[in-house]
């Protein structure tokens, strides 16, 4: 197993592209939310279409544990389900929708992760997790009215 100095860590900016964020979307249910954020990654050429039903399958099979914190879901499938490039998509919702989690519903911050291998992603994921633990960061995400504002929070420009 390689130690962390060998891991080519992908910066959070590199991971979350300017084209893979969308702000203040209205969706009817959790499936539409997964479709929406999946479409961002598909249009940006980061995933194959099959990855979208794969993310839904993982949710259905594993249960809503992917709702990792109040209001926040981290969707993912397996690398072999159709990830072309490491990627992270984010859709913020006008109104939260339930994903079936006993305590953390409703969700209004929908993240979708595509990993090509486990090692490269880990440090970026940790960087994201550290940010998501900060109330001020969450406030900024929720306050972003446009895709551009959302992208700027991650340091990328639209």
């Amino acid at each position: 197993m390689t130690d962390s100095s060998d891991v080519k860590s992908i910066s959070l900016e590199g991971l979350i592209g300017s084209k893979t964020v969308k702000a203040q979307v209205q969706v009817v249910n959790w499936e539409a939310a997964v479709d929406g954020v999946g479409q961002l990654l598909l249009d940006a050429g980061k995933i194959e279409a099959a990855y979208i039903p794969a993310m839904k399958r993982v949710l259905k099979e594993m249960g809503p544990y992917a709702v990792i914190a109040p209001g926040i879901v981290l969707l993912h499938g397996r690398p072999e389900d159709g990830v072309l490039e490491p990627c992270l998509g984010l859709m913020t919702l006008k109104e939260g929708v339930p994903f079936g989690h006993s305590e953390n519903d409703p969700v209004d911050l929908v993240f979708a992760l595509g990993a090509v291998d486990k090692q490269a992603h880990v440090l970026s994921l940790k960087a994201l997790a550290e940010l998501l633990g900060q109330a001020e960061f969450l406030r900024k995400l929720r306050a972003a009215a446009t895709d551009r504002q959302l992208a700027e929070i991650f340091g990328t420009t639209v």
Binding site: V58, Y65, A69, E103, A115, H121, V122, K126, E130, G133
Partner: protein, 97 residues
């Protein structure tokens, strides 16, 4: 002492949790082995403490380890509080026995 983090897929939340716990233990000067599990590997393995997200408790019924459930996986305070509580419980149990 062996601490396992559990998630459905072995990467993602398991790793995140492991890295957070590594940080917490380092800051507290506690030495323990922290290993990420997924539902596939977990059945055959053992650990003193298993840390999992709320929502996975049905998979942990019958576990012999001390189970710690985390509601907010990015809240370091919650993780720290619950993990230290579990470690203290196990340590004091060993000394009394």
């Amino acid at each position: 002492m062996r601490i396992a983090t559990l998630c459905g897929m072995g990467f993602g939340t398991s790793m995140m949790l492991k890295l957070f716990i590594d940080d917490i233990l380092k800051a507290e000067g506690i030495r323990a082995e922290v290993v990420p599990w997924d539902l596939g590997t977990f059945k055959g393995e053992r650990a003193d403490i298993v840390v999992a997200p709320v929502g996975m408790e049905s998979h942990l019924r019958g576990a012999t380890s001390r189970v710690v459930l985390i509601q907010n996986l990015v809240d370091k305070n919650e993780i720290k509080m619950k993990i230290l509580e579990a470690i203290n419980e196990l340590s004091s149990g060993k000394q009394a026995g």
